[in-house]
């Protein structure tokens, strides 16, 4: 009985869309362990009691990706896409840095909170512009967020007057570099935000309504859902999450680099969502999947550096890992393997088993 329960639990896990993402993370970590057996070793810094290790670095690096991936997965669930997250990160970082540079007090919590508040406010405004263009003007999400992606970098440049701006502020720095009970603040914060967002959308009807818009906006409106307000909310949420990612990102070095901060992060976010098993066609989302996807991308980035893969081969290595992963996730490709593995059975009884399995997968 108990073994049965365990097996069904395992089977459930395997059927989760992000299962292969988890496998890929384990495989990448194993690759690193092959290079250096001590890769996974965690030690405690004797001076401040913080955990030190490669895994901790991965968790820290994954925090901004988690933020934008979660926002992106909600936007994609409505059948849209948000290409502006990378630029919103730059704007948010620029606002925070310029504010703290002007404020000047390096130890002031007030300045840090002010910077964060203002950065998130500006991000929310940018998100609202996206949302209004999509929901009320009726522009295609791809186009409206593309406009914001291009405009965002310009806005960031205007805010910083084209210069890379740095500031000093200890509380702000702590967000990206600090530790609480030995764990990096930035990762705890990211997980907390993910849990809150996940809780709100999954414990209320919000998630279902977002998915309904993605499946069929007309039908959902007839069913009594007001898509406009929801769309607006989703784009604002995505931008605010991107704003948080921007704060985390500039906080690590306390410098905003208007042309590099958040550069091409929208692609990382989309990849994370896809790796997590969310279809770009919309109508479905998985916060857990986005988290796995985000962690995988951070692991991949760190693995490339750790293994010392030459810079010119980096994009190719990344592409190969992701293509293999997408192939593994594809039900069609997997079914080829299933069929090939049991040809004798198939010949004896004209394949009722695979059909049944496919049915199950669809319902799952």
């Amino acid at each position: 009985m108990s073994t049965d329960a365990r097996w069904s639990w395992l089977r459930e896990l395997i059927r989760k869309p992000f299962f292969w993402g988890l496998i890929a993370i384990v495989a990448l970590l194993a690759l690193n362990v092959l290079k250096d057996p001590n890769y996974l070793a965690l030690s405690i810094n004797p001076v401040n009691g913080n955990l030190v290790g490669n895994v901790v670095d991965i968790l820290r690096a994954s925090a901004p990706i988690l933020m934008i991936a979660v926002g992106m997965s909600l936007v994609i669930a409505t059948g849209g896409i948000d290409l502006s997250v990378g630029s919103v990160m730059a704007v948010s970082g620029a606002v925070a840095m310029v504010f703290m540079k002007e404020a000047g007090e390096s130890g002031s919590l007030g300045a840090a909170l002010g910077a964060i508040g203002l950065a998130l406010l500006v991000s929310a405004v940018l998100g609202a512009v996206n949302g209004v263009l999509v929901a009320y003007v009726g522009l295609q999400p791809f186009i409206s967020t593309l406009i914001m992606m291009l405009a965002g970098r310009g806005i960031a440049k205007v805010i910083t007057e084209g210069q890379n701006t740095s500031a000093t502020n200890d509380p702000f720095r702590w967000i990206a570099n600090g530790f609480v009970i030995g764990l990096p603040v930035v990762f705890l914060l990211a997980i907390l935000i993910v849990l809150v967002v996940g809780f709100v959308v999954r414990r209320s009807a919000l998630g279902l309504m977002i998915e309904a818009i993605g499946i069929n906006p007309k039908a959902s409106r007839m069913a009594g859902i007001k898509p406009n307000g929801l769309l607006l909310t989703v784009y604002i949420l995505s931008a605010v999450l991107a704003g948080i990612a921007g704060i985390m990102s500039v906080g690590t070095v306390m410098t905003v680099d208007v042309s590099r901060t958040g550069y091409q992060m929208e692609l990382d976010a989309i990849l994370a969502v896809v790796i997590g098993g969310t279809s770009l066609a919309g109508g479905k989302f998985s916060i857990g999947g986005a988290v796995v996807g985000g962690l995988l991308i951070a692991t991949l980035d760190k693995t490339i550096v750790f293994l010392g893969i030459s810079s010119s081969a980096t994009p190719a290595f990344k592409a190969i890992v992701i293509v293999v992963l997408c192939l593994l996730q594809s039900e069609r490709v997997r079914s080829w393997f299933v069929q090939r593995r049991r040809p004798p059975q198939g010949r004896m009884t004209p394949s009722p088993a695979p059909v049944k399995q496919e049915n199950q997968e669809v319902t799952a």
Binding site: D36, D57, K157, S166, T252, T255, K302, S311, T314
Partner: protein
């Protein structure tokens, strides 16, 4: 329906109008002397790169400040739109058609300039390359190239490193994006100097010119090598500044346990050098307006000019040296 359509049309026209006015304003704003039609001014067309970063800004502002009306020049400044080569070629062609006296060119891309340069030659307009060179390097197509030399600068950094570590040591290189000309030149110069010394390169990774990536890459490389790294060669200041933070967080002291050398010499790097975060900063001098002015005058007088003029760049290897120039650093 038709009303609505007409309305959209008007709206579209208005948008186009607003855009073109905006564009016109942009171009005339950049022109530092479009109104001056006096015959005694020398017109100089400057096909520039435009907004790219602190270095470029210092460089182009310096050129604009040098070729002023008071100095007898009418400088027409044409920055590329989004670093696009086509916009540069268009600007170049219109300068040739206009018949300016001299053209200054900072090419965003090295190849594809032969036809344009040949046209300028036909029109007997001398062309002077600023900073960026062209490929293939056909010196008959232009008067001269004025630029600080990446290979030379990197060679000096390498020489400093070899001298600092006579007994050898492990080092990592933080590069710019793979395949960019500057990256190859800086690697070439560095390797030339370091070859034969006891320094060992344990890793070379790109950090895309950014501080954040510089920190992230350094953090991982330090762990991959068990903190056994004595030297970091960062190909620009930003990556070096990021690396310094990673070194600190790994519990090492920059300047003592790990020495960091960078190229560019921006203000932030000079401050860090004065603080002891960085150990060596080699300037890549953007201020060569004066040299350009001399060359332009020579070219107009049809004097012979060398085909490549290297702008001298200074090296700063101590906190004191940085302190001394910090006060009047322009960029």
């Amino acid at each position: 329906m038709s009303v609505q359509r007409r309305f959209t049309k008007i709206l579209g026209l208005a948008a186009v109008g607003a855009l073109s006015i905006g564009l016109a304003a942009c171009s005339s704003g950049g022109d530092s002397g479009s109104g001056g039609g006096e015959g005694d001014l020398t017109t100089v067309g400057f096909v520039a790169v435009g907004p790219e970063g602190a270095w470029r800004e210092a460089n182009e502002t310096n050129i604009q400040d040098t070729f002023t009306k008071d100095a007898g020049f009418d400088l027409k400044y044409a920055p590329a739109t989004n670093l696009d080569q086509k916009s540069q070629i268009d600007a170049f062609t219109s300068f040739v058609d206009e018949g300016v006296d001299v053209i200054l060119l900072s090419a965003t891309e090295a190849s594809g300039w032969e036809d344009s340069l040949a046209r300028a030659q036909e029109a007997e307009i001398p062309v002077i390359l600023l900073d960026r060179g062209i490929e293939p390097e056909d010196t008959s197509l232009y008067v001269t190239r004025i630029a600080p030399d990446n290979v030379e600068v990197a060679k000096e950094v390498g020489a400093w490193a070899a001298e600092q570590f006579p007994d050898g040591g492990n080092y990592i290189t933080l590069e710019g994006p793979a395949g960019v000309g500057v990256v190859n030149e800086r690697n070439e110069g560095w390797n030339e100097s370091v070859e034969g010394s006891k320094l060992v390169q344990v890793a070379a990774q790109t950090a895309n010119w950014s501080a954040e990536e510089g920190k992230s890459v350094t953090e991982t490389l330090l762990k991959a090598n068990g903190n056994n790294i004595q030297l970091i060669f960062a190909q620009n200041d930003e990556m070096g500044l990021g690396a310094a933070q990673a070194v600190e967080e790994a519990g090492l002291t920059p300047g003592v346990d790990v020495k960091i050398a960078t190229i560019d010499g921006t203000l932030a790097a000079m401050e860090a050098l004065a603080d002891g975060q960085l150990s060596y900063v080699h300037e890549y001098n953007p201020l060569f307006g004066e040299t350009a002015l001399e060359v332009v005058e020579k070219a107009l007088a049809a004097d012979s000019v060398e085909s490549y003029i290297i702008v001298p760049s200074e090296a700063f290897d101590s906190a004191e040296a940085a302190q001394a120039v910090l006060a009047d650093r322009k960029y």
